[in-house]
Subunit: 360 residues, 2 copies
Amino acid sequence: MDRSYSSMWDLDTPALVLDLDALEANIAYMANFMAGASASLRPHSKTHKCAQIARRQIAAGAVGITCAKLGEAEALAPVAPDILIANQIVGPTKIGRLVRLRCQTDVMVAVDAAANIDDLSAAAAAAGVTLRLLVEVDIGMGRCGVDTPEQALELARRVHGASGLVFAGLQGYEGHAVMIPEEEARRAAAEKAMAKLTSARRFIEKSGLPVSIVSGGGTGTYKFTGNYPGVDEVQAGSYATMDARYGGIIPEFRPALSVLATVVSKPNDDRVISDAGLKSITPEFGMPVVLQPEGLVTAKLSEEHGTHDGAGAAGLRLGDKILLQPTHGCTTINLHDRYFVVQGERVVDVWPVDARGRSA
Amino acid sequence: MDRSYSSMWDLDTPALVLDLDALEANIAYMANFMAGASASLRPHSKTHKCAQIARRQIAAGAVGITCAKLGEAEALAPVAPDILIANQIVGPTKIGRLVRLRCQTDVMVAVDAAANIDDLSAAAAAAGVTLRLLVEVDIGMGRCGVDTPEQALELARRVHGASGLVFAGLQGYEGHAVMIPEEEARRAAAEKAMAKLTSARRFIEKSGLPVSIVSGGGTGTYKFTGNYPGVDEVQAGSYATMDARYGGIIPEFRPALSVLATVVSKPNDDRVISDAGLKSITPEFGMPVVLQPEGLVTAKLSEEHGTHDGAGAAGLRLGDKILLQPTHGCTTINLHDRYFVVQGERVVDVWPVDARGRSA
């Protein structure tokens, strides 16, 4: 790192800032909770995309990591000997890459279709490797996954009988539940989803096939899924860095992530324009929250500008820095090449966002 | 490039695809229009962020390029001897970089504050370089820029009297007008904005200060601003690649940009799930349009998934490719490291998105 950056307020902007103490507190809080829970933690790295963070999560007791994409898994394989790609890997190019990655790390993937199982089997057998598969069950999102225990069993049997493959268990993601603001409603939705997932588990086990891993859960529901009978692994990811959206409903984790911006124009006392727009901080879950200064609000994001107003605008001058909290950490981090890691206001390190842009 | 990719349909996905014939037709169409217009073209490269495209635009007659950010200008300087950074460059770190860039290319920047002019002057004089400045006028967006001809003149005089600086003219961006669907309403809004900008020009010229460049205009308004008396340069950018949003109102340009995705799950005959989500194609101006197959519609984007329905879903199988047109090319391109350049269905080149992520 450039040692001339001693204070975060001197960073060139826009800059992605990560509070190390908050990050470590979040990792420790979740590790401590999961140590006392019935399930294990396999944190999702789609949010942070960072080997330095994955390494800390594994050191704190995580059984491995979860990735959304093969490219993410390739980028993080050097620090993760056990990776779940929680999605379908489809087509000859991707399956070829998966089999090559299997030589480097014990990667497992989700499946929800017979033809995909046959393709994975042929490639694994030809390469002389063994791939663990989780059959995905749609537990309420209306996205990927089979619907019924019977369909799950049919795919599980197909995996079990295929060369090069191991039927490792089931996965389901209750993405429709993780953001429900009211805790009891969120718990109810998560438990309903886990009931569907674990009923598929029991159905398969009754047929004589062992189910090693049932994987689900996100940051919004870890408390419920982590102790739900029959759930083995929780995939929570956002808890490590947090964002404003989760901050509103999961207050036990500290905000570790922010984007530092500079006031580049002050047309009048009611409005300042910053250099952080849609290419530095994402809008799909709402406008970024201004952490500093107090009383400033984000009114609008255009491509490379934030428009901010509110009482906090009056005291700002050209060149002043402002600190924004993203409403969606996952997509915001994916816009940046590096984290500026701070303790208090001091920049102590720079970490690459190793899997930035690795959506393929 | 990997020569095994002969057909675009064999590309690993998600992939950013650029139709070379459409791109070149768009560049030629705009060059031809501007050759007969009263203004010159200085195309904005915030959309394409690509040296290969900037080079083609300059070869077709563009007087230089426009950039949104200093980082973009640094990335594209090797192919552009004359760059306008159409934003304020504020603070010692940024100004230091700007002065260093000035040794490489004849870069000019926008200003809207006296203190910023003083900082730029001190740095330019200390480095022994000359910086051209455009005074920005707010012509209706409510973002950066001064409001009145008197304020513009005051800043112009300050620039003119400062060592290391040259007062080069004025800039205004009618961003509030460029997307108005109805052409006559769009023309009226653009002309009202240009009237404000050129009245500031006349006011400054009457005071005895020459105004060399008045710069404005976008893809939605190039026809009006390009022939507006007193406007010298047009900053249109999206016309080269286009997107679905501009496609609806500027039909003379061809869609050159798309994102190729793969069907990774087909839960039922009414719905397919693709591997292109928010990290591959942006949502702020609406859901991506499905170019192929016919009858397929994007219902939802999550982080790494597109959910597609409509009559076109029934005929798709796992592993089939679908082609999506972004609604916002600028932010979508910024998610990708490279363009796969195609002619017809054949991949003929791979171009880096040189300024991807260069928001600082």
